[in-house]
């Protein structure tokens, strides 16, 4: 008996599919690549054009004005660390990549998550897909991205977007499932339009869980962006990869700690921005 016959090899079907897509939809992918690239470049250059200390001060002031003094301090310390570690450019590249990727992830995951909460069949259908997406090691995401978009920042961004979708989608669905039914019923009974029920009842009630989802999305995206250093994603990932391949402990450590700094920065700023609207007494 030869079990070789029964070997399951999805790659054997997927690779030709990707090749076929590449051959027939090249203009589409090209357009996506150009758009992603230009958005990234403009965001990056906006961050890198002024002197570093101006960016740090402006960010801290904005954080202090729109959120709290504590968040402003976090911004000051984390960005200050990036500058002092000598990795300012790499940090800003990473911040740009993560912000763009998370923005697109949320743009895709949030409406899908709301739909999944409204329609149980969609939720049931999405669940196994999300399970697979969250269990497959992140390196694997890079392969099709590179096959379609070749090396550089674009496949890094695309892979990061795809990797960031499952946690945000899952937690959006959970958040909307947890909205107390009596509140929604009250909205209907008071004659509120569906839009008012969504924005004035459901989203505010779902906000704590939505923030957790966004936080997960940001942290996983950051992890992916660092891995994407392997395919030329640039930024801190490139520094970590360099540290690894050259066995430079100092560089690796500086880059690693800078990643922590960026993670804390993005997490606290996003939380602060979403929470200050809720002026609830503690």
């Amino acid at each position: 008996m030869n079990f070789e016959m029964f070997r399951f090899s999805p790659g054997a079907y997927l690779a030709p599919a990707v090749d076929w897509l590449n051959a027939n939809f090249h203009p589409v992918f090209d357009a996506i690549a150009k758009t992603v690239e230009s958005v990234l470049v403009s965001f990056e250059s906006a961050l890198l054009f002024p002197p570093a200390y101006v960016v740090i001060l402006a960010a801290a002031l904005a954080a202090g004005y729109f959120t709290t003094v504590r968040v402003a301090l976090v911004v000051l310390v984390s960005l200050g660390f990036c500058l002092l570690a000598g990795l300012w450019t790499a940090c800003m590249q990473t911040v740009a990549l993560v912000v763009v990727a998370v923005f697109v992830s949320v743009l895709i995951a949030f409406p899908l998550g709301v739909l999944a909460s409204r329609h149980k069949r969609l939720e049931v259908g999405l669940r196994p897909i999300l399970d697979v997406m969250q269990t497959v090691p992140p390196w694997v995401y890079l392969i099709p991205a590179v096959m379609v978009f070749s090396l550089g920042r674009v496949p890094a961004t695309i892979a990061t977007i795809v990797y960031g979708i499952p946690p945000m989608l899952r937690l959006t669905t959970l958040a909307f499932n947890q909205v107390p039914k009596p509140l929604v019923e009250m909205g209907q009974a008071i004659g509120a339009p569906t839009r008012s029920i969504l924005f004035k009842i459901e989203i505010p009630s779902a906000m704590p869980t939505l923030i957790v989802g966004l936080n997960q999305c940001i942290l996983l995206s950051l992890a992916m962006v660092v891995l994407a250093g392997l395919v030329g994603g640039g930024g801190l990932g490139a520094e970590v990869t360099r540290g690894l391949t050259r066995m430079e402990m100092g560089l690796g450590l500086r880059a690693g700690l800078s990643i922590v700094a960026v993670a804390i920065l993005l997490d606290r700023v996003s939380k602060g921005a979403l929470q200050t609207r809720r002026r609830r007494p503690s």
């Binding site: 009596p182 509140l183 019923e185 009250m186 009974a189 008071i190 004659g191 509120a192 008012s196 809720r278």
Partner: protein
Amino acid sequence: MEMKISDNDVLLDCRNIWKIFGARAPAAVKAVSERGLSKKQVLQEFDCVVGVADASLQLCRGEIFCVMGLSGSGKSTLVRLFNRLIEPSLGTVTVKGREISGLNAAELRDMRARTIGMVFQSVALLPHRTVLENAAFGLEVRGIAKEKRNQIALAALEKVGLSDWTARYPSELSGGMQQRVGLARAFASDPEIILMDEPFSALDPLIRKQLQDEFRQLTKSLGKSSVFITHDLDEAIRIGDRIAIMKDGVIVQVGTAEEIVTKPADDYVADFVAGISRIHLVKAHSVMKPVAEFRAEQPNCDVDALLRTTPDADIGELIDLTMRSDSDAVAVVHDGKIVGVVTIRGLLRGVAGTPAEARAAA
């Protein structure tokens, strides 16, 4: 004593309404309308649960109509059929002459916003909004300018005695105060009908009683009408002008508190009213005996010399009168004419109620 109901006065008219839940509900509905199946048959044949079965009731202008039933009796389903939070399977609901199943989404929203308010057992206040913002929520979703809606909401909060709490959040309020905010939110929209879905059930007895009195007083003074759902017969008697008793989705009896207590429709209702104090419910007209009968029993007694009272005097008042009187009877006078006599025996029967055997014989 019959309340005169003209068609103009009926604000909410619900006729032969059914709600059937379950996977095969449409087939069950068809069977009910064509073959007149009972609830039990629907459950056996279609595996569908009947929430409300063939319920009819009319809410008149200025009336507080209580629907009393235990949990699972379908009363919360029934009240949600009145503003179409639940679509009826069969039957019609007419609000101010318009059948609500014919309304489109925008018309339905408008009707809910302007004509039918609702107060929930769970209160359903938005935790991230202040008391004032919660009370103004109905006006806000209707697009009324902030200044105007806050002014109206403040007036509504004043009516329920919460004008000092406007800037607080719901979590800072006690249960009773939260429900007052719920009431203020309903009154702020100035609807003609207010649906109350067990609003006071979760409150402690003293606060509940206080809110019941306030609600009745407020509703009457503002000229509103209300359908009030409750599982508490005392509450229904305290608040309701008329009461409907529901059991397993069916309205068993509709009547005033006195009618339900003195003439229960079946043993289920009789069991319910057994523990109710009748002293302030039962009136002279239902315990008096005809003058001729009294004269035949006590030929020596001069009916014209008896102390007099009205047919609406309750047993408490009648006892007081009898104690003050020299004789053992009180004459009941209506339009200047003696229409009956209440004797001590009649009073005793009124306090104790008519036993089941006597009811069956009657």
